[in-house]
Symmetry: C2
Subunit: 317 residues, 2 copies
C-alpha cells in the first residue's frame, strides 16, 4: 500500500534528501516549504516525479484548500516536521520566524497529523542540549540552555516543540516520535551555512586558505546526510516515541578535516589562523546507543567518502 | 496622566491583587481572563470601580472588537502577562492549554503591546530553573529542566515565553521586562493549589491533622502576595529588561510552618506523616540582589503576618 507523507521543510538541506529517499521507496510525498531558507533548486529533480507534490506554504498558517484537499484525497500516514531555519546565521537573522515555526508551526502540523490519525515525527536538534555539561550526550540529559540568550530563538523553540509534541502524545494519545539531530553535512548544504565543513569546501574550491579559528585541535563530529536520512526513515517506520539522538559519534580534529579537504580538493594545505570566537560552537557528540538498539541504526559512510560527494556537488554548481 | 494597563490573567490569585493595587493608585485596568483557573469572585469587589473593565477572553485568540475598541479609546501604557495555569495540579490537568498560553498567548499580547507602543511585562517563573543545581538561584543561572517531562508543559512554555519576549526586545526594540516569580501565598490562593501553605490552612480549618510529606525538616520560601505585587509594580514603572527574580529568600522548615499555622488557627498541632513523593517540589530559593539594586524592592511582610491574613481570608469564605 502506498504511504503518503507530508515533509514540512522538504526543500531544505536535510528535507530534500528525505523527500528523495521516500519517493525512491515508493511513498507519496507532499513537500511543504515557505522557501525562507529552503531552496526550490534542492527539489528541482524531484518535482517531475508523479508521486511528488510541492506546496509553497508557511506551516505557521493553516493549510490552504488545495493542500487540504490533496490530503483528504490521498490520505495521510505521517507528518515529518523539519521546517525551521537551522544554521546559526539563518536563525539569528530570523529570530521571530524561528520561534514561530517551532511553536505555531509545530502546533499546526500536530493538528494536521492528529486529524488524519497520522504519525508525527519532530526533527529536534542537539541544540536542546545547549552548552552541555555531560559528554557524550545521552537522551536523558536535560541540557544547559540560556533561555534568554541570542541562540535561544532556536534552542528554546525546539525545546518547546519537544514539550508540545510529548504533551500531545501523553494527553491525546498521538502517535509521535522525536529525533534529536546532530551536525550533518553533504550535498545541498548551503555554502552560507557558516559551519566548518561548508566554509572549508568553499575556501578550497576558491583557492583561498582555510580559516582556522583556534589552533585546529578542537574536535567536531558530523554525520553524512544519507546516513541521517536512513535514521529518520527508520524512526518513521518504527513506533518509537524517543527522543532518539541521530548523529555520527566519530570525532575528528579541525586540523584533520583540513588535511583531508585539501587532499580531496587537490589543493595545497594553506591555513590562516584566527582567534576562537566567544560563541564558538560548543563540543557536542551524540551517544547513539538508543538509535542502535531501537532503530538498528548507525552511520555507515566515512568522512572521506562523504566529503568527496559534498565537494563534487559544490564543484558542479 | 492616567495610565491604562492590560492585566492578562487578572482574575487569578496574583492578577487580582495586582488589579486592585493598580486601581488604588489611579490606573485604568483592563482585566482579560478566560476564567480557566481564574475566578470572577477574585475581582468581584473591583468590577464596580469606574476605572476597571473585565473581559472574559482567551489571550490565545485575537482580541475581539469590544476589547480592541476600548484599547483604541483609552490608549495603552502597559500589558502585564500573568495568564497561565500556575499550580502543578492546574497545569498538569491542562497541558496543551498551558503550552498555548505561553506561546500563542505571549505572542498575541506582545503584538497588542507593540501596536500601542506599550511596555510589556512577562510574569515568568522560578520553574524556569527547574531542579536547580545552584543555590540560591541568580538570574544568570540557566536552569535544569527536563524538556519532555510532565512538568515541561509549564516550564518549557515559560522558557519559550522568555525567549520570545527577549527576541521582540532585541530584534524589534520593544520595551519589555521579564520577572521570575517564586512561590507566593496570601488571600485568594485556591485551596486546590496543592502546595503546602494552602494544604495546611485547609487542614487546620477543617480540624484534621496536617499531612507532612517527609520528616518536615525540608525548607521552603514563600513570598506574601502584597510584597510580590509591590515588586511587579516597581518593574512596571521601571525600564528594566530583566529577568529579575521576585520572591522571599527567607526559608522556613515545614515543621516551623506547621507550628505557626496551628498557633494562628488555634488548633492543636497534629501531624500525619507521609512519604515524600518522587516529584516533590525541589528546593528553590531566590537570590534577590538584582531586585534590591534595580527596583529597590525586598519583601517586608513576615510569615506570621502573612499567614494570619491568609487564614482570615480562608475562614471568611
Amino acid at each position: 500500500m502506498t504511504r503518503t507523507v507530508v515533509v514540512a521543510g522538504g526543500s531544505g538541506f536535510i528535507g530534500s534528501h528525505l523527500c528523495e529517499r521516500l519517493l525512491d521507496r515508493g511513498d507519496r510525498v507532499i513537500c511543504v516549504d515557505n522557501l525562507s531558507t529552503g531552496k526550490r533548486a534542492n527539489i528541482a529533480e524531484l518535482e517531475s516525479r508523479p508521486e511528488m507534490r510541492f506546496f509553497e506554504a508557511d506551516v505557521c498558517e493553516e493549510f490552504g484548500p488545495d493542500l487540504r484537499n490533496l490530503i483528504e484525497d490521498w490520505g495521510l500516514d505521517a507528518v515529518l516536521h523539519l521546517a525551521s531555519p537551522a544554521s546559526p546565521p539563518a536563525y539569528l537573522a530570523r529570530p521571530i520566524e524561528t520561534l514561530d515555526v517551532g511553536s505555531r508551526g509545530t502546533r499546526n502540523l500536530l493538528h494536521v497529523a492528529e486529524a488524519q490519525g497520522a504519525r508525527f515525527i519532530l526533527a529536534s536538534t542537539s541544540e536542546v542540549y545547549g552548552d552541555p555539561l555531560e559528554h557524550p550526550q545521552t537522551e536523558s540529559y536535560w541540557g544547559n540552555v540560556n533561555p534568554i540568550g541570542e541562540r535561544s530563538v532556536y534552542d528554546e523553540s525546539k525545546r518547546f516543540a519537544e514539550a508540545l509534541t510529548m504533551a500531545m502524545h501523553r494527553s491525546r494519545g498521538m502517535n509521535i516520535g522525536i529525533l534529536r539531530i546532530f551536525n550533518t553535512y553533504g550535498p545541498r548544504l548551503q555554502p552560507s551555512d557558516g559551519r566548518v565543513i561548508s566554509n572549508f569546501v568553499a575556501q578550497a574550491l576558491s583557492g583561498v586558505p582555510f580559516t582556522m579559528y583556534g589552533d585546529g585541535s578542537q574536535t567536531r563530529s558530523f554525520c553524512y546526510v544519507d546516513d541521517l536520512v536512513t535514521g529518520i526513515v527508520a524512526m518513521l517506520d518504527s513506533s518509537e516515541v524517543g527522543p532518539i539522538n541521530l548523529g555520527n559519534p566519530i570525532e575528528f580534529t579541525l586540523r584533520e578535516l583540513a588535511d583531508v579537504m585539501a587532499e580531496l580538493c587537490e589543493v595545497p594545505l594553506q591555513i590562516t589562523y584566527a582567534p576562537l570566537p566567544s560563541d564558538d560552537p560548543r563540543m557536542r557528540q551524540p551517544d547513539i546507543t538508543l538509535a542502535r538498539e531501537r532503530l538498528g541504526w548507525e552511520p555507515q559512510i566515512d568522512l572521506r567518502d562523504g566529503l568527496a560527494s559534498t565537494i563534487a556537488w559544490q564543484r558542479s554548481r
